[in-house]
Symmetry: D2
Subunit: 283 residues, 4 copies
């Protein structure tokens, strides 16, 4: 799997595909996008590992030479998709996203191993354990100073697994900026509204109050600005005047589960590329 | 057609349906909604006119007696849906909503007669005339004082038709508060975003900038606060990173046309009831 | 909760609401539908139990007198929604619907108790047991004669719980006609296509072969004719040429889970009324 | 614009992009798809015409040499998207798709010139003429022998414009097989159901009868087998039990208009590639 983002220029695809053909690489999936606003070029190339006539290390080294010609801002990665991915889940009290991800893991649908579930409450511990997963409880006190100690503990517990994604599966604590930076493009949140509508707390209450006819959910990378990170996926469901807040919550959860699982999957399959505040999804 | 909104209480339906049965009224459609948050009761009853054993006038008078028992805040209306409805369209330069409504009128789908098209530009005059409709041009100067004279002229031209709806079919001038009040629950706007996201100007540009994965349109009653009136209808369409602003505009227009025509139809069929900032749609 | 279906006639609502008002019943939700094609009238009335000035038994007896005036074909039921409902799940090997329903039960979202899970394979036994549910294995041999013995066993196991719904949660055995009749309007199936497209086996393969751009799922009551029972709910998801069958299966499952859970919920809340091959959903 | 379909093999992209880079071609959009079931490779490459250092003729000749190495079944085309496209519309009595396409043409949204409207009834003649278009009436008698004369006349009238698309905008006559073959991948139909559900006549009646909860529309290439040609686009809209057939028709029309216009646009922009019964849409 080869991901590349760089300033757009003539002949990038030619050099790239020439290199791949030279390495004997059989391209299974290839996608490109050139953003006319930013002048940025994005590509994702999936090749059959067995077709490549060199080691992953050598492939990386030789590609680095090509990539150097694409400008010094170029960002790229090459890795073996055969290598299993790991994720850690952060939860609070609401269990629907946790249940959904555990169910997907159990049916073999999740392209990653769930290493651990960390909660600031203990209510979801039995579910995690029933699926054979370790559950670690990190209580979050109201006192702000003690909270940063709690976040330090979460960070240590998470980082022990060196995960490819840290999933905030309805984790109701706002990550401090330094943790957002530390887990940049790795911490994934599900927000229970169609952002940018209804940022912050109790979005279903806000939606009910405003009288909207459609509600939604948003999966995004976590950044220091609340609910403003690059959007990976969104979806919506139609409601009407007869929906109570409880009805909205229930229908909204179904959307949250789907949107989180789609966004997480794309992230784990290296289908998401970020440039500034926007994402390119090679789905 | 009987519409009623009043404080919820025991036996409203019984008194109402007892009255209708007593009048011989055959109920074709009946819908109810009780809002637990506001304690408000809403109903819409469509009865076959020929089944009623009294004149519309007498029916109204006798119902007024019943309605008086539902509280002094009760709002109600009784009218003959056989009576043709009239609408006036306000337009600027963008023609897609105008074309759409003219096409619906031509195919007999619109439950109203379009009396006139009023524009602050002349670019859409030929289309209106091709459909045999009068087009009135009211130029809007940049000077704020002259603008209120222009709005006065629009008001006079519109009110001459005593319309059931004043449709802002991508009319790009913000109505002054007194005109919003004058056309309360009669002036209908189509906003080219999924409100409350992207209030105000250039919503597709705002959506492009934010990197959302879905865009939408909102049909709402016009109130003094910009893009904040009671929402009648909304719908959305999925986009992705490859959409330029022009692509978003093109896909958005299809949603705008549908959302406006649905909302307008419900309004004309007296299916919309408003309480505070929210609508009940008996669709 | 009062459900009624009868031939349409003048004054049904008046008599019904007069009766309810006389009994002191506070109506929380009321919905009506008159079908012009069949001349059939449907209603669902939810009243606050504590407001009724008589026992459920007496209420039933007195309503029976009213109902008798609505024609001898009238079908009605009155029952206490406070009484907990019971369901039994039938499964085969595919676990996504089972996981989903177990997750909903665990988060308190399912308006019923899952009494048992019965499978013709044992692969889902651990999941059921992890949620503290009994799992009963009934193997289905290829020999048709032995199969009817297996169905007899399933019937006995299911009926022991006197359930309000028998959910075929991707149970891949076709129920024999006598069992369809026995569980009429109680056995609920999820079919993994947007019926009537792709009836029968391997619908995702059929959809892939046909090159459709949207796939779906259908929740319906089971009848003797395969995949032709009254439809309770359907939903769809957009796909494109790049979706392999495995991709379609994965996206389809998300729709199956939602459609089954919505349909089941409406059934359990007595929101579904059936007349002939069609359903009225008072959602 | 370069479109290519050929058997998949190692190095196609490399040879292709090497050729383009050698010609100085700046790639604006590039899309690829390899179908694992059929082993077929599809690509569409949009390049900036001014960047190419040779004439269109020379470009075509030199590409032909490359293409010859991709197998003798390879299909490809190279053409100048700056060249304006032409379409001819066939209509009967229902005008909504005609109105919609005329509106899009008037607002500059349609990437083609409408050369003529041909109808087997005269009811839509005034609309076409109001938009300044020639309308040609070709009556279709009931007698099958005379019908083939009528089709001959339609063919002559259409072919006079050498159009890039022949749009059956709710044209209610079934094209004879020889005309399907003659306009292969050029004749585009809008069918008013979500195919393969409800093939043939009166699909909304069929849908109403079956009690489906969602209806749709399908845009497809016309082939000799009725409503079975390669699907270009589909979309759906939710309905419920309260929808009469007239309501379904009205909502369905909105979907028909959108689906036809999307499919037609993709066709005109050479975004549709066909292999067997399926399409690849590089949207």
């Amino acid at each position: 799997m080869l991901s590349l983002g760089c300033p757009d220029a003539l002949g990038i695809v030619a050099r790239l595909s020439g290199f791949l053909a030279g390495a004997g690489a059989w391209i299974v999936e290839a996608a490109y996008h050139a953003d006319p606003d930013t002048g940025w070029f994005f590509t994702r190339q999936a090749v059959t590992a067995s077709s490549v006539r060199m080691s992953l290390e050598e492939f990386r080294e030789r590609f680095a030479e090509i990539a150097a010609t694409f400008g010094k801002e170029a960002e790229w990665s090459v890795h073996d998709t055969g290598e299993p991915k790991r994720i850690v889940l952060l939860v609070s009290k609401e269990g629907h996203c946790l249940h959904d991800l555990l169910g997907r893991a159990a049916t073999g649908e999740l392209p990653a191993e769930i290493c651990a579930v960390i909660g600031n409450h203990t209510s979801l511990e039995p579910v995690a354990r029933a699926h054979g997963l370790p559950f670690q409880h990190v209580p979050f006190p109201a006192d702000p100073e003690q909270r940063s100690a709690a976040f330090e503990q979460v960070r240590t517990l998470v980082d022990a697994h060196d995960p490819h994604a840290v999933v905030l599966a309805r984790f109701m604590q706002v990550l401090p900026p330094e943790l957002c930076a530390h887990w940049k493009r790795k911490a994934i949140n599900i927000h229970h509204s169609f952002l940018p509508s209804f940022v912050g707390a109790r979005p279903y209450h806000q939606a009910h109050e405003r009288g909207v006819k459609i509600i939604g959910a948003t999966c995004h990378y976590v950044t220091a600005e609340l609910d403003a990170g690059p959007i990976i996926e969104q979806d919506v469901v139609r409601i009407d005047h007869s929906y109570s807040i409880a009805d909205m919550v229930r229908h909204g959860r179904d959307i949250e589960k789907i949107v989180l699982s789609r966004g997480l999957r794309w992230h784990l399959e290296d289908r998401v590329q970020v440039h500034g505040r926007k994402t390119v999804i090679f789905s």
